[in-house]
């Protein structure tokens, strides 16, 4: 077998394997779908809001429920001291988040 045919066959084999793996195995199987549905049901039932990825500090355990100023929450000017603080991003807030509420609150801003 000439080298070019060998290399082309190898590349075609790799491309087929790539397409098969990414095409065929991607997406959820029946077991995966069952597991995801069970997890969603668990979230609904217990009213969970966050993933248990970082359990070391309350604002990394529940980033979606954390104070907006968590980096300084222990005392004024307290710098972040948990390592995952650098891995958990600040909450993304749309600009003028409170705009729809302007003028509607009973107390002055």
């Amino acid at each position: 077998m000439r080298p070019s045919a060998l290399v082309l066959a190898l590349l075609a084999g790799l491309a087929l394997a790539f397409a098969f793996i990414f095409g065929h195995f991607s997406g959820s199987t029946a077991t995966d779908a069952e597991r995801l549905a069970a997890n969603r049901a668990l979230v609904e039932h217990y009213g969970l809001t966050d993933l248990a990825l970082f359990t070391e500090a309350r604002y990394t355990r529940h980033p979606s429920q954390a104070d907006l100023h968590s980096a300084f929450q222990d005392h004024p000017a307290a710098l972040e001291h948990f390592p995952t603080g650098s891995l958990v991003s600040p909450r993304s807030l749309p600009l003028f988040r409170d705009a729809p509420l302007a003028g509607k609150t009973t107390s002055p801003d």
């Binding site: 000439r2 080298p3 070019s4 082309l8 190898l10 590349l11 790799l14 394997a17 793996i21 990414f22 195995f25 991607s26 997406g27 959820s28 995966d32 597991r35 995801l36 069970a38 997890n39 969603r40 049901a41 668990l42 979230v43 609904e44 217990y46 009213g47 809001t49 966050d50 993933l51 248990a52 990825l53 970082f54 359990t55 070391e56 500090a57 309350r58 990394t60 355990r61 529940h62 980033p63 979606s64 429920q65 104070d67 929450q73 948990f82 995952t84 650098s86 891995l87 958990v88 991003s89 600040p90 909450r91 993304s92 409170d98 729809p100 509420l101 509607k104 609150t105 009973t106 107390s107």
Partner: protein, 378 residues
């Protein structure tokens, strides 16, 4: 068609022979190239799968959570607060929730304690997440005691361990009855941690939040869409952090690949001169080099991509685990559902295969249009 194909096969044969002459250099390049594709593809597959899973399961979280703020800090919901909300149109259900954190000095880990109705968890019993059970060696019917923040010792019987499949959500969870929760944390009667509201119509959620803010100026409504957005940005951020860490390696590879692809060695230059002198056309020389670029970059892309898939979905992304884990003691074990974004794969292909193949062309074209004699003497 046949002569064209035959010509291409000959060109590839020649290319391979030329690559084999600089075997060590080219094998090294292929390995580095594959490694870079592997790392980038792993990162992209991992964060995409995690992002998809988070947005799927957290879509079941409460539509609105209402926190009370005192001096800008999250505070307890006092008695009567729930009634102040009154009847807001669109709100199907509102319930006070009780949850908090407990630091366990035995394993130096934080647990999330959450109260459930007595119909689900009986007094004196708890249900625990499987990571916690693993760490403390717990099984159903075992007894465990926790020292409360007031210094009293409380004993609980483990009624059940939550499914290991839900570890991503419940690794550190301890579910106990409401009265146990109040006694353990000495929570004042009638107070709650926050309020969960369910809104039937998703279109009305923002209006409900605005009404809540108007009725209770000291409250902070957190919408489900904000929870989902938090996780989207969290994974984007993490992907960015890892990319920043890898930036040095990626740049080093880019320089290596550029150097290899765009700079011709004296030997290669002489080879082109000889080819031209024996009658090869400029087009043939360029075609040969395009094949060289394609063979190297395609092999690296396909090998790196397949390896990344196996790494992320079969070996739990072992390379990224330390970056993910932080210093948490309780870390969930989970397998991700393979979720592949076609656009991500296409982007990776475009940024790895195309630049290398293109970078090969310019110097070759420059050398190929020069007089063979001058090229050989240079």
């Amino acid at each position: 068609m046949r002569p064209w194909l035959e010509k291409q096969l000959h060109l590839i044969d020649f290319t391979l022979a030329s690559l084999a002459r600089r075997k060590t250099k080219n094998v090294g390049l292929l390995l580095a190239y594959t490694l870079i594709v592997f790392v980038l593809a792993s990162l992209s597959l991992f964060t995409h799968a995690l992002r998809s899973e988070a947005s799927y399961v957290l879509a079941g979280s409460p539509e609105v959570i209402l926190q009370r703020m005192v001096a800008g800090r999250h505070d307890l919901i006092p008695p009567g607060y729930l009634d102040k909300i009154g009847r807001i149109r669109g709100v199907q259900k509102k319930e006070g929730r009780l949850w908090g954190y407990y630091y366990d000095p035995v394993v130096n880990a934080n647990y999330t304690f959450m109260a459930r109705p007595a119909s689900e968890v009986a007094d004196g019993t708890i249900m625990v997440g499987s990571a916690l059970a693993r760490e403390r060696g717990l099984a159903p019917n075992n007894t465990i005691s926790f020292r409360s923040y007031a210094g009293k010792l409380f004993g609980f019987t483990v009624a059940a361990v939550l499914s290991p499949d839900s570890e991503l959500l419940s690794a550190d969870l301890v579910l106990l009855s409401e009265s146990d929760f109040r006694r353990f944390f000495e929570y004042p009667e009638g107070h709650y941690t926050d309020i969960a509201l369910s809104v039937a119509n998703p279109q009305e959620v923002r209006t409900v939040a605005a009404k809540l803010s108007a009725a209770l100026p000291d409250s902070r409504p957190i919408l489900r869409e904000e929870v989902l957005r938090t996780y989207q940005s969290l994974f984007d951020w993490r992907e960015g952090i890892v990319l920043t860490v890898l930036a040095g390696a990626i740049l080093a590879f880019a320089i290596l690949a550029w150097e290899k692809a765009s700079g011709l060695s004296a030997e290669e230059r002489r080879e082109i001169g000889i080819l031209k002198a024996i009658g090869w056309e400029t087009g043939d020389v360029i075609r040969m080099k395009v094949w060289e670029g394609l063979v190297i970059s395609l092999t690296a892309f396909l090998l790196g991509g397949i390896a990344a898939y196996v790494h992320v979905f079969h070996f739990g992304a072992a390379v990224f685990a330390p970056v993910l884990k932080g210093w948490s003691v309780l870390y969930p074990r989970f397998t991700l559902v393979p979720a592949v974004d076609g656009l991500q794969i296409a982007t990776l292909f475009f940024f790895t295969v195309v630049p290398y193949t293109a970078a090969v062309l310019v110097p070759i074209w420059r050398a190929a249009i020069t007089d063979p004699d001058a090229v050989m003497r240079a």
